[in-house]
């Protein structure tokens, strides 16, 4: 059965991983698992400009996302277009707010990766669905 809107909000605030599907140049799907933050309207993802997922999104912004908790048979999936919200140093605060959901020392984590061509992506869903078995 579906989750209610408040249940979706609460579920997405938990620090799950997010599976991101993009489309490769040859038209085939590409998957990667990433950390994310949900702000009530959009998913935020930090990545690098040299990553396959970012090159795919530059060419074709259409993506699908899945956040799931297997043990609870609970998932939220969505479709939308990804847009670049910030690059380089301007992406730091956004990246930090994502990383802080998962590690105790987000600044240390980002300092270790300071040389990367950071980019912050925003995905606002235009279609969203949910599923759970645990009620």
């Amino acid at each position: 059965m579906r989750l209610s809107p408040p249940e979706i909000e609460a579920f997405l605030q938990e620090p799950h991983t997010l599976v991101l599907a993009t489309i490769r140049a040859d038209g085939t799907p590409h998957l990667s698992t990433v950390w994310y933050r949900w702000d009530g309207e959009a998913f935020w993802i930090a990545t690098n400009r040299d990553r396959v997922k970012f090159r795919n999104i530059e060419r074709d912004a259409r993506v699908a996302v899945l956040v799931d908790a297997a043990a609870r048979e609970t998932s939220v999936s969505a479709n939308g277009e990804a847009s670049v919200a910030a690059r380089g140093d301007e992406a730091y605060d956004g990246a930090r707010s994502i990383v802080a959901r998962y590690v105790d020392d987000p600044d240390g984590y980002l300092r270790d990766r300071a040389g990367e061509p950071r980019v912050l992506l925003r995905i606002r869903p235009d279609r969203m669905s949910s599923w759970t078995l645990s009620r």
């Binding site: 599907a21 297997a70 999936s77």
Partner: protein, 152 residues
Amino acid sequence: MDAFTMSAQIPLDDPVVAGLLSGANLARLAYIGLDGRPRVVPIWFTHQAGEFVMITGPRADKVRAIERNHAVALTIDAHQPPYHVLLVEGDATVEATDGMAPEYPGIVQRYLGPAADAYLANMRVKTQRRIRVAVRAYRILDFQRRFPKSLR
């Protein structure tokens, strides 16, 4: 292709692969929807004879989409750190079964354990669809020795 190994055979003796395939981890299956946009859904699977096998209903959206576009991707992840990941890209075929797919009870048993019998007893199945994924390329991440490019 990026850091993928082009091979139809994933190394079953790799400890990360063996761990991910032996547990009750979900697969996340990506395909291209009929509208041309990507989709990604969680799905139970089994691995047999070198292929990933998933069973679904005859009216599932993914069945019609995959019948039109065979290219799929799978990720099988351990949900807890250190985040073991098996990524697979391949080509899927869809077959109709007469009654319940013979591998389906074993799949349900793997995921539901003791609750499988009751789950199966409540099903009324005339036909199912078997999605078979032949591997084209794979990638293993364990975040200990094998990292994504950005973390190396």
